[in-house]
């Protein structure tokens, strides 16, 4: 994986290097810093460039700290982390280039874009008025408020999209699954965080996770059924049957 990242960054001769060699490791670190990351102070950079020095690791530690690298077990992991940073910088730099190829944009590019201006862009999302109105909306829809009105807005949006969609309003029983209540408070969480509040929160996460998992499984089942529509042809032939002695 690290090699793939290296080749994405156009590091020379990637196929023939051995990442577990200390010398290679140092060379790559220096290369990354000079060509991609460019964040070290002159003093640290000089220290790193002196690859044969005994102090190299001291400078490397300083360098890692300055980048905010977490504690990792091996040079290989550290290298991987550094590569991740470099890739992030690279992609951020070329973001506009990549976005041209994003699926959404490819789709819409063939359709003439009518709306040149989104009136919502002019809203002041941090203003009091916005926040009050969002909270009103949330109250009406019985959605719990969040201190950040934008997050509340996202929750509101979710409710509108799922529960107030035309098909749901017309035929609520079809869309809203009537589950049977389950006393999840009494169920075993499977682990104990030694804090009732945390346990409660963990249980909520469990339920949310199960909800996602159920959704995924349902989609998988739908896919199987779609394939069955093409392949299925169950047959029986009672003439073949034979009851044993």
């Amino acid at each position: 994986m690290s090699k793939r990242l290296l080749s994405a960054l156009e590091y020379p001769n990637v196929d023939n290097i051995n990442l577990s060699e200390e010398q290679t490791f140092r060379t790559i670190v220096v290369w990354l810093e000079t060509n991609k990351l460019k964040s070290a102070s002159q003093q640290v950079l000089n220290g790193l460039k002196n690859q044969t020095s005994n102090d190299w690791n001291t400078y490397f530690d300083q360098y890692k700290n300055s980048l905010g690298c977490p504690l990792l077990k091996s040079h290989l992991e550290e290298l991987h982390w550094l590569l991740g940073q470099a890739i992030q910088l690279d992609t951020a730099k070329n973001k506009s280039e990549y976005l041209k190829h994003a699926v959404d944009n490819i789709k819409t590019s063939s359709v003439p874009n009518v709306i040149t201006e989104n009136p919502l862009d002019k809203l002041d999302f941090r203003g009091n008025e916005f926040s009050e109105r969002i909270n009103q909306l949330a109250n009406t829809l019985k959605v719990c408020r969040h201190p950040d009105p934008l997050i509340t807005l996202r929750a509101v949006r979710k409710v509108i999209c799922t529960r107030l969609a035309p098909e749901c309003v017309e035929n609520p029983r079809k869309v809203i699954l009537e589950g049977t209540p389950f006393p999840f408070e009494d169920t075993d969480l499977g682990f104990d965080l030694h804090d009732p509040l945390l346990n409660q929160a963990a249980k909520v996460f469990r339920i949310l996770y199960l909800h996602d998992l159920r959704d995924l499984q349902t989609k998988a089942n739908e896919l199987v059924v779609a394939v069955q529509n093409i392949t299925a042809n169950p047959k029986t032939d009672t003439k073949l049957g034979q009851v044993g002695r």
């Binding site: 075993d188 998988a220 392949t231 073949l240 049957g241 034979q242 002695r245």
Partner: protein, 506 residues
């Protein structure tokens, strides 16, 4: 076997609590780990009696007593934890039926043994629910029993009514229930509610002998003989309302269909072929066991790998077999009630396998290990939140289906955390024999058995009535004792009790 007086033997056995006994090292030679078995006071008597009988002078031949077999398994190379005997344990070929044992995949000496899986590979139980109640079915139960009997061929040498050619079989062996899905015999949700999702991915039909394939081909979609059956059952008791609710069981009296069957002649041939190979491997690798029937090979050897691949193919065969019978049962019900199986809500609650070896992750002495878990006459019972159980059962634990004997009740249990720790997530599988087949034939008249079923108002359709006494409830341990022991010991939890109203048998 070491020959000792019964009293001497007892010194190696220690009762840990009311439901659990320890078998200390030294009970049999070279034990790598200790043994353990779960019994209540009734089953305990049966267990010790068997040992006592074996200690009498001049007792040779037949299988070793169950306790001795547990201890011999504990002496196999690479075993970890304990060799576990479940409450329904009874002597079998090499391993006792109701014995589970786990072997460390990372230990090069660890073995795989066909005797630890059994001859009927992936013998298992499937439970379908319906939205019918006893009052809907009772008036037509004779017709329904007949209809099931007409759809599902039973008995020794029976042949299935689903047309299959050699190519279909090859595909079915590789694909398991995905084959049944592709061909449209089952529903997408059936796969979801099946152990292993109805397909062992390491199956390789090229490792299976032509003889096995020849035996298996005409038998797909047949029930077989022995203790295999299809039963129409009604919910008799609900112990765990919420677990039952997750399974779609709302009330007493609800009608279910239970199918107990395996891989027929196919699995038997795979096991037989493997045993021949294993004996060669044992000689070559110098593997020592206490009992010749414990033929085995190192997991990493060619023989070991070949067996695992062909066993997986046999497991897939069994799942396709049970799936075909699911299809046929749905047809039978649909015809009788003039309703689509969907409208009868005939969903699979779960499908368990109680003769299989599988690679699983477990915690041993605080460390996560990859183990090859042999379950022979033992059912997987994973606890709530285990990643390998279906999403619908994440909060309740895996449903465990315990088939009773002809005319007695069956149970649905759920897996527990304690079972995960004590028995590698395993529990009992059924009633477990108390009398050998031969003994049952001598002791009981078949007419008597059939008369008693009639008295209990159970419709029965049977291919070979003269073999019925082998399967009479008297020949078995009491399934309620077995299940209560598992519940009390905490290795699984009672959820539902079912009683039969119609039985189809080989």
């Amino acid at each position: 076997m070491v020959v000792r007086q019964y009293n001497e033997e007892l010194k190696y056995l220690e009762k840990i609590n009311s439901y659990c006994w320890r078998i200390k090292k030294g009970f049999q030679p070279n034990m790598n780990v200790e043994g353990v078995f779960y019994v209540n006071s009734t089953l305990e008597k049966l267990m010790l009696e068997e040992l006592k009988n074996a200690c009498r002078p001049g007792m040779v031949g037949g299988f070793l007593p169950g306790v001795k077999q547990i201890a011999n398994v504990a002496a196999l190379p690479g075993i970890v934890g304990r060799s576990v005997g479940l409450p329904d344990i009874h002597s079998g070929y090499g391993f006792a039926i109701g014995n589970m044992a786990a072997f460390d995949m990372n230990d090069p000496n660890s073995i795989v043994s066909p005797g630890g899986v059994g001859f009927d590979i992936n013998c298992g139980v499937r439970l379908l629910r319906t939205n019918l109640f006893e009052k809907d079915v009772y008036p037509v139960k004779e017709q329904l029993a007949q209809s099931l009997f007409d759809h599902i061929p039973v008995g020794v040498g029976s042949k299935g009514i689903i047309p299959m050619n050699a190519k279909d079989l090859e595909e079915a062996l590789e694909m398991g229930m995905d084959w049944s899905l592709r061909e449209g015999y089952i529903w997408a949700e059936d796969k979801e509610h099946c152990e292993e999702y109805g397909r062992m991915l390491n199956a390789d039909s090229s490792k299976v002998s032509t003889r096995a394939k020849k035996r298996g081909l005409p038998q797909l979609g047949t029930l077989g003989a022995g203790n295999h059956y299809a039963e129409i059952q009604v919910v008799d008791e609900i112990y765990d309302k919420w677990a039952a609710c997750k399974m779609g069981i709302e009330e007493k009296g609800q009608v279910c269909v239970m199918i107990h069957s395996g891989s027929r002649g196919f699995g038997h041939q795979v096991a037989t072929d493997a045993l021949v190979q294993m004996e060669k491997a044992m000689k070559r690798d110098d593997i020592q066991t206490n009992d010749r029937q414990l033929a085995c090979a190192r997991i990493n050897s060619v023989e070991g790998q070949d067996y695992l691949k062909s066993m997986a193919a046999a497991a897939n065969f069994a799942w396709v077999n049970r799936s075909s019978m699911t299809f046929l049962s749905r047809q039978a019900f649909a015809k009788q009630f003039q309703m689509a199986p969907d409208d009868l809500d005939m969903h699979v609650i779960y499908d368990v396998s109680h003769n299989i070896a599988k690679v699983e992750e477990h915690i041993v002495d605080g460390k996560q290990k990859t183990l090859l878990v042999h379950r022979k006459g033992s059912t997987r019972a994973f606890p709530p939140h285990h990643p390998l159980i279906p999403v619908d059962y994440q909060l309740t634990g895996q449903p465990v289906l315990i088939g009773g004997t002809m005319g007695t009740c069956s149970y649905v249990l759920t897996g527990t955390e304690q079972g995960m720790l004590e028995t590698f997530g395993s529990t009992c599988h059924g009633a477990g024999r108390a009398l050998s087949r031969a003994k049952s034939r001598r002791n009981i008249q078949y007419t008597e058995v059939l008369r008693r079923l009639e008295e209990m108002d159970i419709s029965i359709r049977v291919a070979s009535p003269k073999l019925v006494m082998e399967e009479a409830p008297e020949s078995y341990k009491n399934v309620t004792d077995v299940v209560n022991t598992c519940h009390a010991a905490g290795i699984s939890k009672k959820a539902i009790k079912l009683r039969p109203i119609a039985v189809i048998k080989g």
